[in-house]
């Protein structure tokens, strides 16, 4: 992986954060933590094994997409990627970062409540611990492949509301019945869990 690409993108957004969203500074700095790198590397590695050819991906609760997009591009080429996040400041920053990437589209949408027509053949959510069970979304899409990550760290007050302790729990939350991959690994002292399936 060309980590320099992530670094350049991060630097591109940094000035915009400083000028327009100073209270996002800490949040923005955390978007490229080692944990983000490791979890997206793992995701791309396993997704490539399950589905070697992907043309279009939708990412829920995408944050800035700073790590996910470069890793997905490295793995699948310059495919269409739709980023969805509820926070308008986050998406404003993301739109700046990706303004010269025509195949990356940033949407300010609430994936919990809004009716969204996801176009990606693969739907990714690496923040399942932050929100409702993904079964509310998977039930609407029998034909799509879902990639979900969660973790067992319920100590993050306000944010980690719907953690999963193991793969089985995440599969149940997601309502997946055709499992292509399920695994877990310790990342920064906590168990990170991933399932891929339909």
């Amino acid at each position: 992986m060309d980590y320099g690409k992530v670094q350049k993108l991060w630097a591109k957004g940094l000035g915009y954060v400083a000028d327009n969203h100073i209270y996002k500074y800490k949040d923005y700095s955390e978007a490229v933590f080692d944990t983000q790198i490791e979890s997206k590397e793992w995701l791309c590695h396993q997704l490539k094994k399950v589905k070697p050819d992907v043309k279009h991906i939708s990412i829920l609760a995408s944050w800035y997409g700073l790590v996910a997009v470069p890793f997905l591009y490295e793995t699948f080429g310059e495919i269409d990627i739709d980023l969805y996040d509820v926070d308008e400041y986050t998406t404003d920053i993301a739109k700046h970062i990706w303004n010269d990437y025509p195949k990356v589209n940033v949407h300010t949408k609430d994936v919990v409540f809004d009716d969204i027509d996801y176009k990606g053949e693969v739907i990714i959510n690496t923040s399942c611990e932050h929100m409702m069970d993904m079964k509310y979304i998977t039930k609407n899409y029998n034909d799509k492949l879902f990639v979900f990550q969660s973790n067992d760290n319920s100590n993050v007050k306000w944010l980690h509301i719907n953690c999963a302790m193991n793969q089985g729990e995440l599969i149940e939350q997601a309502g997946l019945t055709d499992i292509k991959y399920a695994g877990s690994k310790i990342i920064y002292e906590h168990k990170r869990i991933m399932v891929i399936g339909k």
Partner: protein, 223 residues
């Protein structure tokens, strides 16, 4: 005047309810005080009980959504968290309330940016004014999507902020303050200080019980 609180589970004992009632009577002798509770034992005999069950075992504060049921109150009614302390009369909350919106406290002691960073929102439901119909949008969403809500939001405040800002009105500044954080950013943010304002809330205060005990025992009323 009508006032209501919610007591579910054992986190707050009956003394919180009875003390709040005592403070209310100091300023509003004819006040009708309702307590929505799963256990009325030990409550003052003049407190009006509204029996409810505990529907949210892990995060009991979600039981507050039961306040939003249309028709529960027949006139504008002040809701107070049990760890509030009343310093002075509450009339202004009602006089300045909007009849068709949920009237609610803003975390004016933070800048909006900091509020969003710390608590994901600038809304605080420790104090509200509810009437017979002003919470219909919230009630409908609770009815339709409570599982999604409960698993996506730690408490009511970030949910209200994200979903119902257009159905709410903030109380005017200076009607309430935070013991821990202050009253109004950036002019009045001295921490851990009591003020001559109608209501003090104790969110985030480590020594909440100790301070409240002191206030209860002295029955000290500022102003």
């Amino acid at each position: 005047m009508q006032v209501v609180s919610v007591k579910v589970g054992k986190l707050y004992g009956v003394e919180y309810v009875n003390q709040l009632y005592k403070q209310l009577l100091t300023f509003h002798k004819d006040c009708v005080y309702y307590c929505m509770t799963d256990d009325p034992e030990g409550l003052h005999k003049d407190i009006q009980i509204i029996k409810i069950t505990d529907s949210f075992k892990e995060r009991k504060w979600w039981n507050k959504i039961k306040l939003f049921e249309p028709g529960l109150f027949n006139e504008p009614t002040i809701y107070l968290d049990l760890d509030c302390y009343i310093h002075t009369p509450l009339d202004k909350f009602l006089e300045t309330s909007h009849p068709d919106k949920l009237n609610i406290l803003k975390t004016a002691w933070f800048s909006d940016g900091i509020a969003k960073k710390i608590h994901m929102c600038n809304v605080n439901s420790s104090i509200m004014v509810i009437n017979d119909h002003n919470c219909e949008p919230m009630w409908k969403e609770c009815h339709d999507h409570i599982d999604r809500m409960y698993k996506s939001f730690y408490g009511l405040d970030p949910w209200l902020y994200r979903r119902h800002m257009s159905s709410m009105q903030f109380f005017q500044p200076g009607l309430a303050y935070s013991f821990k954080h202050g009253c109004m950013y950036p002019l009045d943010i001295e921490q851990n200080k009591l003020r001559q304002l109608p209501v003090c809330i104790f969110d985030d205060a480590q020594n909440r019980k100790e301070v409240l005990d002191g206030l209860w025992q002295s029955s000290k009323v500022m102003g």
